[in-house]
């Protein structure tokens, strides 16, 4: 029911076909920025590097999940509280608000999945990105995708718990947290390109392992050293599972704490015009 509500709220401002275009144009434009960056560099340097381009493209395509899942999850509190002012009605209804947020977020994940699929398909068929995916890799890919989304939604709910208590800085967090992932998680460049002091930060973020696994599964022939080659595929999957469970437990704690503090301060349904 929450997923249906989220779908209605996200899509009923316009016609379905226009909503479909809108949902695809933003992430595809983001992918095109990277395409042009690569092409311009090739013009300037006179040399091409298809392996690096494939690495950048695939990482950026799957980053669409990060933006949608994390921001979409934690914006539920702000949108219900500030924009639609319906939070008090949902909050007092006999459902778990935590589950409600997960349901609302699932819509955004579904739309993001479509955008990722279109972006990857465009890369493969129009830009010649060398994605190699065999059926034997499907279980590993599915497991990594589900665990990655599990981590993302858990992180989003941690931020939702924080957003119970803040107003002005919600947008700053919405842009800052994915920005940290964008830089430190090996999305666009391997960890070896980052300065050495950043490697510790990268390895502490579970999404780093997720992106590494995605790159390994979809780009097996790629010769780029990601900085995590000392981990096997199964090892990375186990790390992802462990960190996902950790963030899930953290999300329960942070959400409950944020909710408790907001109720105590009477801020559950505050409106601040932000």
């Amino acid at each position: 029911m929450a997923a249906w509500l989220g779908w209605q709220m996200d899509s009923n401002w316009t016609e379905p076909w226009l909503f479909a275009v809108y949902s695809v144009v933003k992430p595809v434009a983001g992918a095109f920025i990277l395409v042009l960056m690569y092409l311009v560099f090739a013009v300037v340097s006179g040399l091409q590097d298809p392996d690096m381009f494939a690495f950048i493209f695939v990482g950026n395509a799957f980053f669409i999940f990060v933006g949608s899942a994390v921001i979409g999850t934690f914006e539920v509190v702000q949108s219900d509280r500030e924009w639609y002012q319906t939070i008090r009605y949902v909050y007092v209804s006999p459902i778990s608000y935590y589950t409600y947020i997960v349901g609302r977020a699932s819509t955004k994940v579904a739309v993001a999945a479509l955008a990722v699929l279109i972006t990857i398909a465009f890369g493969v068929f129009a830009l010649g990105v060398r994605v190699e995916f065999t059926s034997s890799e499907f279980p590993l890919f599915l497991a990594s995708l589900l665990l990655g989304l599990f981590c993302l939604i858990s992180i989003g709910i941690c931020l939702a718990g924080v957003s119970f208590m803040i107003a002005r800085h919600t947008q700053g967090l919405a842009q800052g947290i994915p920005g940290i992932f964008y830089v430190f998680c090996g999305v666009l460049v391997p960890l070896t390109v980052l300065p050495p002091w950043a490697w510790g930060i990268s390895r502490a973020i579970p999404l780093t392992y997720w992106f590494d696994l995605i790159h390994r599964v979809l780009l097996p022939a790629n010769d780029i050293s990601t900085g995590l080659l000392d981990f096997s595929d199964l090892g990375i999957l186990v790390l992802l599972l462990a960190s996902g469970l950790t963030f899930f437990l953290l999300s329960l704690g942070v959400f409950k704490l944020g909710e408790y503090l907001a109720r105590k301060a009477g801020k559950i349904d505050m409106t601040t015009s932000y």
Partner: protein, 314 residues
């Protein structure tokens, strides 16, 4: 004995004073209020560096792989390093311009939509000042507020990423920068009038105009690169030329990173020099300001007629 009614002030000087006060009043929250809490230094000046860093690392990663090639000559090596510096510098410059574009979208264009949602719009409509003074004050305040943030990002970005600047004509750079801002905010004023009619579509349009404009305007790469991508590239470049940020960034890149690596915009064999681009920006500034003036009047009338001035949560 009748009590005389007080004389209603009128005349040009009164209207000028009133509208100037409106400009100051609308600029005040952006100049003073937005800087009261120091958290803006982190959220609006430092955090944008993360997005810039991601793109900087892309160019560095590409360059590192090229430089590993043992067959590279010294001349090719030097050219790759210089070209990468220009591209990284362009990313830092584009990241600075991003702050202005986001301010135009969310604090200019969408402002009247927010006012409608909060319920203040009818108060503005009933106030005796000119609507252009209202938007002008928002533009002046927004320019100041964003300039403070953008300059901080620029300075930190140049230092952190070791960008080497070679400014050839500082006065022309400043002229291009300020005219770009005027044209951009004029565009924002024109969009603001459009948003008088809309409900949630306004918010979604602003969200939609982020990444596609970063792409079309070449915020993270020289827009002149489009000219080398065939027919579709030229079509995108033609559309992008009407966005002031495209032309402004291209002119500034040419003057701050002179040489072939800036890949200036080339329209059918005519290279757009910074002087030509300043002329284009002046034309765009005038056009957008005039468009804002007439669009605001027309769309306000339309919104009143259709009863959309006060519709909320649509």
């Amino acid at each position: 004995m009748s009590v005389g009614t007080p004389a209603v002030p009128s005349g040009l000087s009164h209207r000028l004073r009133l509208n100037l006060k409106a400009v100051v009043g609308r600029a005040y929250p952006r100049v003073i209020g937005a800087n009261r809490e120091p958290s803006w230094v982190f959220f609006e000046a430092v955090l944008p560096l993360l997005g810039i860093a991601a793109y900087v690392f892309i160019y560095q990663a590409l360059a590192n792989r090229v430089l590993l090639d043992p067959a590279l000559t010294e001349a090719q090596r030097a050219a790759t390093i210089a070209g990468t510096n220009a591209l990284i510098g362009g990313v830092v410059l584009g990241g600075t311009m991003t702050a202005f574009w986001l301010n135009v979208l969310w604090s200019m264009a969408s402002q009247l939509y927010w006012e409608k949602e909060i319920g203040n719009l009818q108060l503005y409509m009933m106030a005796p000042m000119s609507r252009m003074a209202l938007l002008g004050g928002m533009a002046v305040g927004g320019m100041f507020m964003t300039s403070v943030r953008a300059m901080t990002t620029l300075v930190v970005g140049v230092v952190v990423f070791s960008v080497i600047l070679q400014v050839t004509n500082p006065f022309l750079v400043l002229a291009v920068f300020f005219v770009t801002l005027i044209a951009l905010y004029g565009m924002g004023m024109a969009l603001a009038s459009l948003y008088l009619l809309w409900g949630r579509e306004a918010w979604h349009l602003s969200a939609l105009l982020e990444e596609p404009i970063y792409f079309a305007s070449g915020f993270n790469f020289p827009a002149g690169g489009f000219a080398r991508m065939g027919g579709w590239g030229r079509a995108v470049l033609t559309f992008a030329t009407f966005i002031p940020a495209t032309v402004g960034l291209d002119a500034m890149r040419q003057m701050i990173f002179p040489g072939a690596f800036s890949l200036p915009i080339d329209a059918f064999g005519v290279k757009f020099t910074p002087e030509i681009e300043l002329g284009i920006l002046l034309v765009l500034a005038v056009v957008f300001l005039l468009l804002a003036r007439y669009a605001l009047a027309y769309l306000e009338t339309l919104a009143r007629r259709e009863g959309r001035l006060t519709s909320r949560h649509q």
